[in-house]
Symmetry: C2
């Protein structure tokens, strides 16, 4: 299947992965509608889609209020469902907010998909976080699910919605469980978006990197263009052989190795080891890397970009657009999660 | 550990299992506080605890508003957490209500436990429903989790909260994944509480039984007194060897076998096979029975009551108290889920 002239809906299309995906979809000739409420703290940045701003439809709606865009759901040929809060730290601080964003809003959105576009192919951006502390490496799709934080629990509930509604024939969903993704358009000004965002932010400020723990924890970072390839493949295959695929990078590297490569590329001093900050240790999962053999066998996808190469492209992007990602006017409406949020997202029941 | 003089909190203590548990705890000399909001449709019935009404403290609060009973949480030595909606059919009709009751309310309650009684032993009434359609039989605790309905997704999210907070050392929870439970004090006047409730209701009305499908689906019904034994054991063991135990009955019987035994015991005519009603087939899970060897090995529990024996005790109870469970004044505030509920439980976000 080609995406040319296809009507595609991208939720969370102002975010890091969603914007890279939207740019590529426009390039491929798709008719792209983005739904993004630019929820504070979730990494949306209108600048991310500037290159295609005139060629996409942008709906500033929350997927938890899908009555605002029923028509667009009804017309979608493929839906890429990337809206959500990815910060594990935000989720631990404000679990009810995380439940609202990652589970309740997904429930409402998926029921709208079921009602207005039954059977539609949906690609959901899941996360390796649902596996928790790996029992074995590399982690394949059969690994037990045992999230260590609220964000993982809530993303897994949304994962189960997709799978359950697909098993019932009401939609045709596929879940990509993503490892750490990096690349251009990553939010750098939002705290707690993962260590790669933090590392890049520090590098752009000329600061040396700090690695928590002993620095030996392994990760398999995957470049965003490779993730976009995986999503496009999952959206285009006529008949899905599986409904869950792990998506990882080309190699496992230790946090210290990555910090060293990043420091070398940018000329800052060598990285330093630091003890885990209070409260972070319990949500650390040790080493993780992906067994991506299922998606390779069934969708022909594999990561192409080495960490060094992806990093250079990332640094080149931020060198050019630094002002759009760092030191943005404060208070920054698209990125800071402050204490006012704590009260605002408490759920209540409406009277009839 | 003995329960004598222990302060015990039971959520959902007006319900079927919760009330049987509360009666036994009183018998064992515990100081029992029941928290139960008597949520419409969830099976609470004040008559259930009549024999001990003067010997328990009854707090008419929703566990989703734990600020109403912080002090009692803070004093609890053991918490039996049974509050919830068990109907799969209600969950499919009103998924957002099910999310509010089974996930959001549990989140708030568990955070209150963490804050006011860190490290407390909590026994959570989980469900076999989280396993979905069995991949093998009997089903042990390692079976993949793949719920087929919203109730299963939401109960599993609450299960993950218990496990995750326990892994982090913030509580000491154990999840009992219960198969079909039956016995005295089961709600019979609430639609959609499972086939055993429906069968009993029909029998008490002198109606013949109807079995959906081919009647060959296996289940392993467990008598409520046996479940109470399992809960007491899980609450009393000084150190938990595991955090999840499957709890099942002594034998696997087909739906038709059970219907035949029940019809024979009550003298109604032979049961009839009926096709699945619209919408029910997708949430049917085929055959299920439990591998309960882990709880036997680690907690010394096994089911003692045969189906025939438990059934006779159940029928004797309802013969005596029929008017409290059937044909209760309509509209019945403690059991009917009507359309007004559909709007009432919609979640919204409160302003600061």
């Amino acid at each position: 299947m080609s995406y040319k002239k296809r009507k595609v809906l991208v939720t969370g299309g102002l975010g890091f992965i969603g914007s890279n995906l939207s740019l590529r979809l426009v390039e491929e000739g798709a008719r792209v509608t983005i739904v993004d409420s630019a929820e504070t703290g979730c990494g949306a940045n209108p600048f991310n889609i500037e290159p295609v701003r005139d060629r996409v439809t942008l709906l500033p709606f929350d997927i938890g209020e899908p009555e605002s865009f029923h028509d667009e759901v009804g017309q979608a040929e493929v839906i890429f469902n990337l809206a959500g809060e990815i910060s594990h730290v935000h989720g631990m601080e404000l679990p009810e907010r995380d439940l609202a964003i990652n589970t309740l809003a997904q429930l409402r959105f998926l029921l709208a998909c079921r009602d207005h576009r039954p059977g539609v192919r949906i690609i959901y951006a899941g996360t390796r976080q649902v596996y928790g502390v790996p029992e074995y490496l590399p982690v394949d799709e059969s690994h037990p699910v045992q999230p260590v934080d609220f964000n993982g629990v809530h993303k897994y509930a949304a994962t189960m919605y997709h799978l359950m509604l697909s098993a019932g024939g009401e939609m045709d969903a596929v879940v990509l469980r993503l490892t750490n993704v990096y690349g251009p358009r990553m939010a750098l000004d939002v705290p707690c978006q993962g260590f790669l965002s933090t590392f890049l932010r520090r590098l752009l400020h000329g600061q040396t990197l700090e690695v928590f723990g002993d620095g030996r924890q392994l990760r398999d970072p995957v470049f965003v263009d490779d993730v976009v390839d995986a999503m496009l493949a999952a959206g285009a295959v006529p008949r899905l052989a599986s409904r869950s695929y792990n998506v990882g990078g080309p190699a496992a590297l230790s946090l210290m190795e990555m910090a060293e490569i990043m420091s070398r590329e940018t000329g800052v001093g060598p990285p330093a080891l630091r003890p885990f900050p209070e409260g972070r240790k319990t949500i650390d999962i040790g080493s993780y890397y992906t067994d991506a053999s299922l998606i390779e066998a069934e969708l022909g996808w594999r990561p192409k970009t080495t960490f060094e190469s992806g990093l250079r492209r990332t640094l080149a992007y931020y060198a050019q657009h630094r002002a759009r990602y760092l030191d943005v006017d404060s208070p920054n409406p698209h990125c800071k999660l402050d204490h006012a949020e704590k009260g605002r997202r408490k759920m209540v029941f409406a009277a009839v």
